[in-house]
């Protein structure tokens, strides 16, 4: 059942992005930034955790989960260490996404010939 839910949710988020792209002059950069901020906002309300419980993986794949994870880990840091904990813990959980993207894109760009 969670497979169907994640199909619907992930498709729905992509559909929102496509609607913004089609009906305005915003670029994909704008759309992803907006969705990240929306994800952080939903995380603050506590709505995104409920979605993850119901939907499963489908809620972690769209870029909105990036904002949610940033917010959740910084809030966890505040609870454990106080104000400095926000800065210390902010990137803990998203580090997987950022670092793997950086390292593998660097490795894969070495054998490629530069484009003109």
């Amino acid at each position: 059942m969670t497979i169907l839910y994640s199909f619907l949710f992930c498709g729905f988020v992509c559909l929102i992005g496509q609607m913004i792209l089609d009906n305005s002059k915003l670029t994909p950069g704008h759309v992803t930034s907006i969705l990240v901020v929306v994800g952080a906002f939903l995380g603050m309300i506590g709505f995104y955790d409920k979605i993850i419980d119901i939907v499963g993986m489908g809620a972690s794949i769209p870029i909105t989960s990036f904002g949610n994870t940033l917010f959740a880990s910084s809030y966890k840091g505040f609870q454990s260490m106080g104000f400095l904990g926000i800065f210390k813990n902010m990137l803990c959980d998203v580090s997987l996404g950022i670092c793997s993207a950086i390292i593998f894109s660097f490795i894969f760009s070495i054998p490629n010939k530069p484009k003109d």
Binding site: C14, D22, F41, M44, A101
Partner: protein
């Protein structure tokens, strides 16, 4: 011909983008990616006895590495232009933007080209994500404790 008439004519003759068709394609593409991720997560949990959080990390890792690989060695750009948000909104779009800017600016050299333009497209996601997470965190702390 007056300006207004000309603009009307231009509006008539420019082909409208097929929004309905596009959005169905995007919905299917994003949905299939979500369903695929969920299937792999369930397989990992049930057959390899992993924790849910570890399984999520593994699925994200697979998606990111495959997006980087396809962008570098196959024609992933072609599909991104066709399916737009269906591939940009999932985490594959993040990996794709980093990989494609690395490939585009490699001709300017390793430091001044590749190094300084690495986050040209993905930088906005990281910047606004961190700033908004900080602001929302402060708001939550101040109002809810």
């Amino acid at each position: 011909m007056e300006k207004k008439e000309y603009q009307k004519l231009v509006k008539k003759t420019t082909p409208k983008p097929d929004k309905m068709n596009n959005s169905i394609k995007v919905f299917l593409c994003g949905g299939l990616m979500g369903a695929f991720g969920e299937i792999i997560r369930l397989l990992l949990i049930n057959y390899f006895n992993l924790k849910s959080t570890d399984a999520v990390s593994i699925v994200l890792f697979i998606l990111i590495v495959s997006a980087c690989f396809l962008t570098a060695f196959c024609d992933f750009d072609k599909y991104v232009i066709k399916l737009k948000a269906g591939l940009i909104v999932p985490i594959t779009g993040f990996a794709h933007s980093i990989q494609s800017s690395a490939l585009d600016y490699k001709k300017d050299g390793m430091i001044t080209g590749l190094g300084s333009n690495f986050f040209k497209l993905a930088g906005s996601v990281i910047l606004y994500g961190i700033v908004s997470a900080f602001i929302f965190c402060v708001i939550k702390v101040v109002f809810y404790g």
